[in-house]
């Protein structure tokens, strides 16, 4: 099973993906598809992208041997340190790629959606760096919850537009960005923040963040002389996860694990686990798994992690789930926060709460595979942004007398 084959037919991954968008956007998506493919096979573009990642974004990120965490989990754990990238997450890879492509297409304006503000900040950063106008749509609810990121975006010169419709969160910010795009498509690129949306976004974003696995694979060979036994990543829309899996997909001996946000537990209905707790449908331009009611209305997601709090998932993950190549499981808020604390205490690394879901998952994998196993865990981002959320959580969940 090659990804290329899965992509071949008009951006479908098996029955997933495609383009479920207004006709008005099709021409722009076609243009993007053509321009992206041209750019990706152009040494000039690739060279400039690599240079930006290296000189500006601090990539390749280290593959770090987490010795004390390994001792605690009972397997050899290597962390792919995306938290050390400029702006503190894997997202910089995607935004630099798309912003560079925007320049190449000659469009002066970029729009983006953001939930927690991470992708908004990354987009504002890339636009400042490459001299592009930047407008970020953000749910009204989120602009209040993530005020610090709103001011970061403004410092970077972006305009932040609060979205007051629907649930006033990420999915509505995406809707509003799509509406802007329909209206201004001649001058504007929609810099989508994850490996979701209509074709070619899922493939393009995957390729831009795919460096995570290309690097990790080589680093693993260099360091250990072999490939890891497993790769773990958290799954929101799915960009860091697809980036972490991509180069390993053909390596049948490497098991791949994606961890969705289980919130209060999938059984409670308060979660963001689209694959484990959702059903197949269409949202934001692609056929994929999503949280929906009996009538196909989108159901709001819940997670302590703002970056995973999205009611759908990129279509390639839906496909990798169905084919069985990747195992997707939910991780609850409580499990994630336990893992969050564990990483803080054992390694002196404060992870993004999103990434803590992957650490929690690795704990399960370590139990299953035992002490000789090598597990690569993508630490998709750093946790500076999560100080308040974590403090609040731990105040309500004291360390003594509780079981994960």
């Amino acid at each position: 099973m090659s990804n290329a084959a899965a992509d071949a037919f008009f951006g479908h991954f098996g029955r997933y993906g495609g383009r479920f968008v207004p006709e008005a956007l099709i021409a722009a998506l076609d243009e993007l598809d053509v321009e992206y493919r041209k750019a990706w096979s152009d040494d000039g573009f690739r060279g400039e992208f690599d240079r930006m990642l290296r000189e500006y974004a601090n990539c390749p990120s280290p593959l770090y041997e987490a010795t004390r965490l390994s001792a605690s989990l009972g397997a050899r754990v290597l962390l792919k340190r995306e938290d050390l990238n400029h702006t503190g997450a894997h997202k910089i890879r995607n935004v630099l790629g798309q912003a560079l492509l925007t320049k190449r297409m000659g469009k002066p304006r970029v729009i983006a959606e953001t939930g927690a503000g991470q992708h908004g900040v990354a987009s504002a950063t890339a636009c400042a760096y490459l001299d592009l106008e930047c407008v970020v749509y953000m749910g009204e609810e989120d602009t209040r919850r993530q005020a610090m990121n709103v001011s970061r975006m403004r410092l970077l010169g972006a305009e932040v537009v609060p979205v007051g419709t629907g649930s006033r969160t990420l999915k509505d910010a995406i809707n509003e960005a799509l509406r802007d795009w329909v209206t201004n498509v001649d001058t504007t690129h929609y810099l989508l923040g994850t490996a979701a949306g209509p074709h070619p976004f899922p493939s393009m974003v995957r390729d831009f963040v795919g460096g995570i696995s290309v690097e990790a694979r080589q680093q693993s060979l260099d360091k250990l002389g072999r490939l890891p036994d497993a790769v773990c990543a958290c799954v929101g829309g799915g960009s860091n996860a697809i980036g972490s899996f991509h180069a390993f997909v053909p390596d049948e001996g490497v098991r791949l694990f994606g961890y969705e946000a289980g919130g209060d537990g999938v059984a409670t209905g308060r979660h963001a686990a689209s694959i484990t707790g959702g059903a197949v449908g269409v949202l934001h331009g692609a056929r994929t798994y999503l949280l929906q009611d009996e009538d196909g209305q989108t159901v709001e997601s819940h997670s302590i992690s703002a970056g995973l709090d999205y009611p759908a998932v990129g279509p390639e993950h839906a496909y990798l789930h169905d084919t069985g190549r990747v195992t997707y499981e939910p991780v609850t808020d409580a499990e994630a926060m336990d893992a969050f604390r564990l990483l803080c205490r054992t390694e002196g690394i404060i992870p993004a709460i999103e990434s803590a879901h992957a650490i929690a998952g690795a704990r399960r994998v370590a139990r299953e595979l035992g002490p000789d196993a090598v597990i690569v865990v993508t630490l998709s981002g750093r946790g500076d942004k999560d100080g308040d959320t974590a403090a609040e959580w731990f105040a309500g969940h004291p360390e003594e007398g509780r079981r994960a």
Binding site: F20, A24, L25, I26, T165, N175, V282, G285, G296
Partner: protein, 265 residues
């Protein structure tokens, strides 16, 4: 009654077809049916019953607000089908305008069967392109339903021809690049788009996006076979002090638009 009959009758009368839209369940189930009845009485020839959806990316703030309110009141897909049935009983063709996920969730063939059973004429699908529509193409054939896909000013010639070839009933020309909503001026892009559609089909062409009064309807009627009005109707109901006043205002607007489509220029 199907859409083709409505177009033929209008042609025989030397006028254009007026298509009016409301989301089902807005301002209430009964209120929507009452408003649609008044609109039909005042001259709306074809009704588009909107299926209110949580993520309407093709809609501007007016229709978003109405859909949100309808959903908050508990409108279900089956209520939309009941609304279609009520409209069909008024003796005009009723199309359902819907984003794709609710149909996908209901089951494409089951939805088509139930829509046909309710006397519905077909579907208008703002986020479904023919490339992704195999199951709907089959179901609409099986249940003899019209399928109205959209074309846009940005559609390349080859795409436009393919999309139009997949349409049945009429072709929906989105006259400008943007979302639904009333506009001060109708778009010049509409005229050019309709001309391009006419080069590849004999199907009637309806123009929507932005029309809000009789004068605009007359102008659009100068080059299109149908004038499609949504947000302006919704706004009359949103702005009304009472449900009855809303129904009256919607009827007044329908009458104004109906006179517009009778003096195309």
């Amino acid at each position: 009654m199907n859409v083709t009959d409505a177009f033929e009758r209008a042609r025989a009368e030397g006028r254009r077809v007026l298509v009016g839209y409301l989301p089902a369940g807005f301002p209430s189930y009964d209120g929507c049916v009452a408003a649609l009845a008044a609109m039909v009485k005042a001259g709306v020839d074809v009704v588009e019953v909107g299926l209110p959806y949580s993520d309407p990316v093709m809609d501007g703030p007016i229709i978003q607000r109405a859909a949100e309110r309808s959903l908050a009141q508990g409108t279900r897909t089956t209520d939309v089908l009941r609304t279609v049935e009520a409209v069909a009983e008024m003796g005009v063709p009723a199309l359902c305008m819907t984003y794709w996920n609710p149909v996908s969730r209901y089951g494409v063939d089951r939805f088509a069967a139930d829509l046909a059973g309710a006397g519905g004429a077909g579907l208008i699908t703002p986020d479904l392109i023919p490339d992704e529509a195999d199951d709907w193409l089959a179901a609409s054939d099986r249940h003899r339903l019209d399928r109205v896909f959209l074309v846009a000013p940005s559609s390349a010639d080859a795409r436009l021809a393919c999309t139009v070839a997949a349409c049945r009933g009429f072709v929906y020309a989105a006259s400008l690049m943007g979302v639904t909503g009333t506009r001060e001026k109708t778009s010049e892009q509409g005229r050019a788009l309709v001309a391009r559609v006419r080069e590849v089909t004999a199907l009637p062409v309806g123009v929507g996006l932005g029309v809000s009064n009789g004068a605009q309807a007359a102008e659009v009627g100068g080059y299109a076979d149908a004038v499609i009005v949504g947000s302006a109707f919704v706004r009359t109901l949103l702005d009304a002090e009472t449900p009855d006043a809303g129904v009256d205002a919607a009827a007044d607007l329908a009458a104004d638009l109906a006179s517009g489509v009778r003096s195309p220029g």
